[in-house]
Amino acid sequence: MKRTFQELFTGLATRLSPQLPAAWMLLVLLIFLAIRVLGSHSFESLHLFRKAL
């Protein structure tokens, strides 16, 4: 069981790691665009929407 988990983890890490930098940069970029382009009002609306739900 332990071995299987280790294999799974190593396999996952190996498969994921080449994508990590791109994912990280994309995340940084998207948060920035969300804040700057959509503006804080969008976040406010989202918050109000969630609150209403």
């Binding site: 080449p18 994508q19 930098p21 791109a22 990280w24 940069m25 994309l26 940084v28 970029l29 948060i31 920035f32 665009l33 804040i35 700057r36």
Partner: protein, 605 residues
């Protein structure tokens, strides 16, 4: 309209040449690890600082325009010879910009050009602007008085004065526009130091240009490097010290490091916090090197220590002798040990409270520290960030650090950046105070970008390029938005007049006082009135930070009793947001000679 900018350009040229002349020996001391262009930039930067120190020392006794002109002209002749020699022997061979670096080079040129042209706009603003409140007030008063002394009504004029002494020299040689116009030169030197550090970390010339371009387009960096702010110059000295230390082996090289470290402390008090951070990181760097290098470094540290002391001591000893405390206003640890002249303990404590409040950022707890990289990137306004630092430090620097993590230089720079950020986090979280750390982060950011370009897949390359593009474009947009107003004022005289009328508080009264020949000595009653705009001598009994400048006078009202002793000819009374008119009419012995909305000027009968 063209005469004033021309005058400013002549002043900057004279001081630039003079700085090159003073810095020439410094350039010769640098080892072979430095490119010829780096030597030139180091000579200019070091010379700028050391020339300022020389003028400051002379200025303690006499600081007339004539003395400044003679001193700077002498060194300018040496500087001219130095530069002609470089040109003749083709010491800095071309091409200066490779084809691949044309885009970042164009960005750098554009931002530096904007800095220069916008710097030609006349200075405006109220007491909330540091430029008006003290950076340019001190120089103006020193030139009028013919001697460098702290201006009693603004304790910030007693801060270390490397930048301000040069502003005074610029005013003397290039007129009132020269200090802000000269920002392009010191900003350019900051960018040169950034590129120099980048290339020392393994990037090629194109990488160096990109680091310079990304740093130039960071609004937080720009805000600290223009309008006669000193943060850009401070960061340039810091980076020069780091760059010099990285390759220091012989005593002259360590001495150069010591000089730049001294200039750091001689430019801003925060340098006192940067020095221990530098020391810890350098000990780490040298201990990890071989035994022989460590031994040589130990001796080098001693030489550097002496150089630092010689460069920085003057500012602190002067304050100690004249104001009762080497650091003025005294920091928390010294409040009860020093008796600070002009400042009550309460005024000092109020000042500390203000600093803590202004620099609170988003808190000082462990979570705030953990979230700092995100907050600095996305919530720039909480750090007075003027538009922020872009996305490269957060998005790409971690990649750059990861891929170079085994390099000793990376470890040294990361430790240094962490220590500096911690000191900043615990004291005053003002974005522009961290410019040197942003530069280090950008260096790693560009290394990370280069790694993505060379070893990443299609998506990684595309996202990295997009991130840099968005970051740079956003920065350019923010800076352009900020500079539209001064640029408009440079090219349109009617707009400049309108801007002056709107943005200079009590402009009409200043105009009256400046043009009226009978005005000799003005009593300014309200502490929010910025005396920077006054061309005559003045007394401000209660200063901006609660300074009490006249013995026995604890409030503006008390000042009326000692007016004759102070040879006051006119009184400026205003109805400000902080206090109403102080003179009740009709006032005995005072004749109202000028009145407009919220402003009254009296002649003393």
């Amino acid at each position: 309209m063209i005469l004033q900018p021309l005058h400013a350009a002549i002043g900057v040229l004279l001081l630039g040449l003079s700085a090159a002349g003073v810095g020439y020996p410094l350039a010769r001391r640098l080892g072979t690890a430095f490119h010829p262009w780096e030597r030139m930039a180091f000579a200019l930067l070091g010379g700028w600082g050391v020339l300022s120190l020389l003028l400051y020392l002379i200025g303690q006794f006499v600081f007339s325009r004539w003395v400044i002109f003679v001193v700077t002209s002498g060194f300018a002749a040496v500087g001219l010879r130095f530069l002609v020699g470089i040109w003749r022997h083709r010491e800095v061979p071309g091409p200066w910009v490779e084809k691949r670096a044309l885009l970042p080079a164009a960005l750098v040129v554009f931002i530096v050009l904007v800095t220069a042209v916008a710097g030609l706009a006349p200075v405006v603003g109220n007491w909330g602007s540091d430029t008006v409140a003290y950076h340019l007030l001190g120089p103006k008063v020193w030139l009028r008085a013919g001697v460098i002394r702290p201006v009693a009504d603004n304790c910030h004029t007693a801060f270390p004065q490397t930048a301000e002494t040069m502003y005074a020299a610029l005013m003397a040689t290039g007129g009132p526009l020269a200090p802000c116009f000269a920002d392009f030169l010191t900003f350019g030197l900051l960018l040169a130091m950034s590129a120099s550090l980048a290339m020392r970390c393994g990037l090629d010339a194109t990488g160096g240009w990109w680091v310079a371009a990304i740093v130039a387009t960071m609004p937080a960096v720009f805000s600290g490097a223009h309008l006669a702010f000193v943060d850009g110059l401070y960061a340039a000295f810091f980076l020069a010290a780091v760059r010099a230390a990285l390759d220091a082996e012989r005593h002259p090289e360590w001495t150069s490091f010591g000089i730049f470290r001294g200039l750091l402390i001689a430019t801003k008090y925060t340098g006192l916090l940067a020095v221990p951070a530098l020391a810890v990181s350098l000990v780490f760097l040298q201990r990890k090197s071989d035994q022989g290098k460590w031994q040589r470094a130990s001796e080098g540290f001693a030489f550097a220590g002496i150089a630092t002391l010689l460069v920085a001591a003057a500012y602190y000893v002067r304050n100690w002798l004249l104001l009762g405390c080497p650091i003025y206003p005294p920091p928390p640890g010294l409040v009860h040990l020093c008796h600070a002249k002009y400042l009550s303990t309460q005024a000092v404590l109020d000042f500390h409270r203000y600093i803590l409040q202004r620099g609170a950022g988003l808190g000082r707890g462990p979570l705030a520290l953990l979230l700092l990289p995100f907050n600095l990137t996305y919530h720039t306004a909480n750090f007075h960030g003027a538009g922020g630092i872009g996305l490269v430090p957060l998005g790409l620097a971690p990649i750059g650090i990861l891929v170079t993590r085994k390099s000793l230089t990376t470890k040294f720079l990361v430790i240094l950046a962490i220590l500096l950020t911690l000191a900043w986090f615990l004291t005053q979280q003002e974005s522009r105070f961290l410019i040197h750390v942003y530069v280090i982060a950008t260096v790693f950011g560009v290394i990370g970008w280069r790694h993505c370009e060379l070893f990443g897949g299609r998506v990684e390359r595309a996202v990295a390029g997009l991130l840099v593009g968005v970051s740079v474009l956003y920065g350019v947009f923010m800076i352009a938005k900020l500079e539209v107003d001064p640029l408009h004022a440079v090219f349109s005289a009617p707009y400049a007049a309108k801007r002056y009328a709107e943005q200079v508080p009590y402009a009409e009264s200043f105009d009256y006082l400046n043009r009226e020949p009978s005005v000799k000595e003005v009593l300014i009653l309200d502490r929010s009135v910025p005396p920077f705009y006054l061309e005559k001598d003045y007394v401000k009994p209660v200063g901006q930070w609660g300074e009490l400048t006249v013995p026995g006078v604890a409030s503006p009202q008390d000042a009326f009793a000692v007016m004759a002793k102070l040879s006051i000819t006119h009184v400026l009374d205003v109805n400000s947001a902080g206090a109403p008119f102080q003179v009740s009419q009709p006032a005995a012995g005072l004749q109202l000679v000028f009145e407009t909305k919220n402003q009254r000027v009296y002649r003393v009968e």
